[in-house]
Subunit: 172 residues, 2 copies
Amino acid sequence: MDIHQAIKERKSVRRYRPDPVPAEKLATVLDAMRLAPSGRNAQPWKFIVVRDAGLKEKLVEACNGQRFVGEAPVVVVGCGWEQRAYSKMGGYWNSLSVDVAIALDHLTLTAVAEGLGTCWIGSFKEDTVKEILGIPQEVKVIALMALGYPAVEPEAKPRKSLEEVVVFDSWD
Amino acid sequence: MDIHQAIKERKSVRRYRPDPVPAEKLATVLDAMRLAPSGRNAQPWKFIVVRDAGLKEKLVEACNGQRFVGEAPVVVVGCGWEQRAYSKMGGYWNSLSVDVAIALDHLTLTAVAEGLGTCWIGSFKEDTVKEILGIPQEVKVIALMALGYPAVEPEAKPRKSLEEVVVFDSWD
């Protein structure tokens, strides 16, 4: 699928069919994630692919009751080490968050081409997620991602116009 | 261009031809950026497209002497408001960094399809960038992105194997 079409068609899917994600499709979207760039090519990440029903049920609670986390056949948990990332350069730059977000974005767009849906999950209790999956103390959880076949056509959300979000050469 | 091909072909470009980015191609990559998802669809971002040679020269210094920042015909500065983002949910989640990273990733992949190169810039002095471009106090600079025609074929960086970065159902 054309890249621009994938970007246009990607929507947040919060209703999933129970069908599992075929192994070949899962391998394709995980490979797209793996190929992502990261600051100084540090690849300071690790991704937990959760398919176990009991674990997903526990993650529903950790994600503040979001039911689709339990319905999605796959939940990818994006983790990483701040110590292994490019480093904070001062200011607002946060290498680890940016790195893991890029990798998960690659997954979302490739999923569209594979006929799969995804949803970014930012509402979660990090400590609880870590406890459920046995994630070590020094590892951060950056974001979770639901993955599976959409059960319904998701709603398209409106976006601001280019004029609202882009300026040229200076802020004003 | 196919999404998976774009992901495979994207490389960090640090040598640029002086040719300007054609208006139509610039509009295409900016549109891909604009269409990105963000927490609660807040779109808490603003992007400054810098093409002025004098400003880019100043940005070289702000980016700790990285010469290609001045050579690239376009530098996109990814900014945002933490107050307008989905919010920190506690833990490590940082909505604004993730949102802006997704948008800039859309730009990088679409650029490949347009025959353009990009490079993520994480090494910059935020306060200096803000001063150069007149960015308000309350706005954060998340990352900068160089954009233009590659002058040379960039080096492909090796990536870890899937086995190294993905685990199933639990950390261990």
